[in-house]
């Protein structure tokens, strides 16, 4: 067990410690700027750290990763523009809080909860990695499909106004996700023979347009209105607050680790599912969900940071990336002469424990950088709208371009921005659109894989579901959630409570 001592490598070398800190600091900003992603930053770092030793290179990358996942919440809270897809759910209650002048408190809760989620993720990675990895491998295409269906049912909790409009938004999102050349068969879908449509629509472009541009245009209605003054007295949440949300945050963190460990799903889906979970289990939220409920911040932020530890689980034990960032890290390990794969844990257990140590350190740095400098950040919201709006628009454009170096993405981003603006005016929720785009491929690809595997036989498909314990559990969850959302059930429950 002497390998466990490698855990402390990072603490023993000031240089490594500094790099983790630097990475985390940079990560917070990379994460906060929409369009700049951790994936991008880490892949640039591969060339940048080419001539370095492997430990410093990995330290820097881990810092960026941890900081970046957290940083996405900043702009989500302050400007209603999620810096990264995993912060979409954070905007739902974080932005209303900032609108009430509670941006400081929102950021404080977010930071502490991200730290907590990150910690749970690392704990599971350190103690249960081989076990979780084996479990993640047992997910079959039909299970991923059921998971996607489960995700799509979140439309119900993401549309507070009209449910029909929410369903339309969700379906639109799935449709947007299908545009372009189908990666499995190279069939063109929804392209109308237009070359611009063949490469599909970048989902980050849709997200930036729908959230960033539509929000900026919306704010034009009251350019002159003074910005909301932010109270920044209460930043660190009280111990009571943390204790109160402990059960919820343990649940959502566990959800985050598992979803993060599944190859093919990541922090974005984890955060949305956690939000939905919070809405279901919280009897008395601090405010109505969507109006600035603390629970609406706790759930997604614990889940997406827990997913970081989760993503490392299949990477370290099997050499299978848990998400895009760990995929690049595997490449980095190769370049530095290591062979990431199932044998890494056996041949070089030191590496595993070093990464765990670096993650722990990055998590602490995230807490420190998260809780300091909030004053400066909240100043962004207090900037005059006449300057803020043009800057948001320009950042949205650059961000959309940066995703794939494509002008087409800029056009899509602007188009969806204007479309989203009208959708908001007429009461269509935008969250389900993004949810649909995120889940589109997961649903479509895995449905087709599952039904092809059963030779197009629906009978065999359902037989497969009911005979597999995992699929059965997922199916029951889908049915329960679906039933609990239908009007009949709500009526039944009302009747049930009335006579008393």
């Amino acid at each position: 067990m002497e390998h466990v001592l490698a855990l402390f490598t990072v603490f023993a070398h000031p240089q490594l410690l500094l790099l983790v800190g630097l990475g985390t600091f940079a990560g917070v900003y990379v994460g906060a700027i929409p369009g700049l992603s951790v994936t991008m930053a880490v892949s640039i770092l591969i060339s940048f750290t080419f001539s370095w030793d492997v430990l410093p290179a990995i330290s820097l990358m881990i810092g960026i990763y941890m900081g970046g996942v957290y940083g996405g919440s900043r702009t989500a809270i302050l400007l209603n523009i999620p810096g990264a897809p995993s912060a979409i759910a954070t905007a739902l209650d974080g932005y209303p809080m900032a609108q009430r002048g509670e941006a400081g408190e929102a950021i404080g809760v977010t930071t502490v909860m991200s730290f907590f989620g990150g910690f749970i993720g690392i704990l599971v990675l350190a103690l249960l990695a081989p076990f979780v990895a084996d479990f993640a491998l047992t997910f079959q295409p039909r299970d991923y499909m059921l998971l996607a269906v489960l995700g799509i049912l979140l439309v119900g909790s993401l549309s507070s106004g009209s449910l029909v409009k929410g369903i339309f938004s969700g379906a639109l999102g799935i449709g947007i996700g299908a545009v372009g050349m189908d990666p499995l068969t190279f069939t063109e879908r929804f392209t109308f023979d237009i070359p611009l449509l063949q490469q599909g629509i970048s989902f980050i472009a849709v997200m930036i347009g729908m959230f960033g541009v539509s929000e900026a245009l919306m704010q034009l209605h009251h350019v002159e209105k003074a910005a909301v003054r932010q109270k920044i007295s209460r930043i660190v949440p009280s111990f009571g607050t943390i204790k109160k949300h402990l059960p919820l945050s343990i649940q959502t963190s566990s959800l985050g680790v598992l979803i993060g460990a599944l190859p093919g799903t990541g922090g974005d889906i984890a955060a949305l599912m956690a939000y939905d979970h919070a809405k279901r289990v919280t009897k008395n939220p601090s405010r109505k969900f969507g109006d600035g409920a603390i629970e609406g911040l706790v759930a997604p932020e614990t889940a997406n940071n827990a997913a970081v530890g989760g993503a490392f689980i299949p990477m370290m034990t099997l050499g299978i990336p848990g998400d895009a960032v760990t995929a690049i890290m595997i490449g980095a390990l190769f370049i530095h002469g290591l062979n990431p794969g199932p044998m890494l844990m056996v041949e070089q257990p030191n590496m595993f424990w070093f990464i765990v140590g670096a993650l722990i350190m990055a998590n602490f740095f995230m807490l420190i950088f998260g809780l300091t400098g909030i004053k400066l950040f909240t100043k962004i919201v207090e900037m005059p709208r006449s300057v803020l709006i043009p800057l948001i628009l320009l950042l949205s454009i650059v961000g959309a371009y940066a995703v794939n170096n494509s002008i087409t993405d800029v056009y899509w981003m602007l188009g969806f921005g204007i479309f989203g603006y009208f959708m908001r005016h007429y009461g269509y929720p935008l969250g389900p659109v993004i949810l649909g785009v995120i889940l589109s491929r997961l649903l479509d690809d895995n449905w087709r894989r599952a039904i092809i595997s059963e030779r197009e036989d629906l009978g065999r498909f359902f037989y497969g579901i009911v005979t597999s314990p995992l699929s059965l559990v997922l199916l029951v969850a889908v049915i329960l959630i679906f039933v609990s959302q239908t009007p009949l059930w709500t009526m039944f429950r009302k009747k049930d409570t009335q006579p008393k």
């Binding site: 339309f168 379906a171 204007i418 009208f422 007429y426």
Partner: protein, 190 residues
């Protein structure tokens, strides 16, 4: 200005994505047209999805798109049905509550940006955009406008182009040559 007399109900703009806008029980200006467009759009998509592979197989690449487009069409039709029954919101007009002049102007700026980006390049287009929009929105002096525009553009350029090597369209400015010259300068000095 008649605008100041008009009372705009900002709750109808929606406060966040969890609480979208819209007027409960009333039909806002343009809502009917928007809904009709959605219905037509959904129908076109359904037809297109059918064209991908027809009813060839459960696993065909057209299966999920067809299901999705069908859901879109049904839900859009239901929304249309609801919208038709709602009375018009008499207190609102298109130009005051849905697309006030400022929104139209900024939207046009964005379109112009999209058109000019490729031929003119990132730096000049963005500078023009920032100058024009900040000037119009803030109504402050040119000095203020120019300082803020140039400063923030430089910041964005530094982060995206230099640090993250995102190669924005260069257009009329030979950026790569200039950057190389600067690099050579440093390399020569060192």
């Amino acid at each position: 200005m008649t605008e100041s007399e008009h009372h705009h109900d900002s709750s109808r703009d929606g406060s966040s994505d969890a609480t979208p806008g819209g007027a409960a029980g009333k039909r806002r200006p343009g809502e009917l047209v928007f809904t009709i467009i959605l219905v037509i759009f959904s129908a076109v998509l359904l037809w297109n999805a059918y064209g991908i592979a027809g009813f060839e197989a459960l696993s065909s690449p057209g299966a999920i798109p067809m299901g999705t487009a069908a859901v879109m069409l049904i839900s859009a039709a239901m929304v249309l049905n609801q919208t038709l029954r709602k009375p018009r919101a008499e207190d609102e007009t298109m130009l005051q509550d849905i697309v006030p002049p400022l929104v139209i102007v900024l939207a046009l700026f964005l379109v112009a940006y999209g058109v000019l980006l490729e031929p003119l390049g990132f730096l000049p287009t963005s500078l023009l955009f920032l100058l024009a929009s900040i000037k119009i929105l803030s109504k402050r002096s040119w000095g203020f406008t120019i300082t803020v525009s140039v400063g923030s553009l430089l910041g964005i350029y530094l982060v995206f182009r230099i640090v993250f090597t995102v190669l924005m369209p260069t257009g009329i400015i030979p950026e790569a040559e200039i950057l190389q010259a600067i690099r050579n300068l440093f390399a020569g000095g060192a």
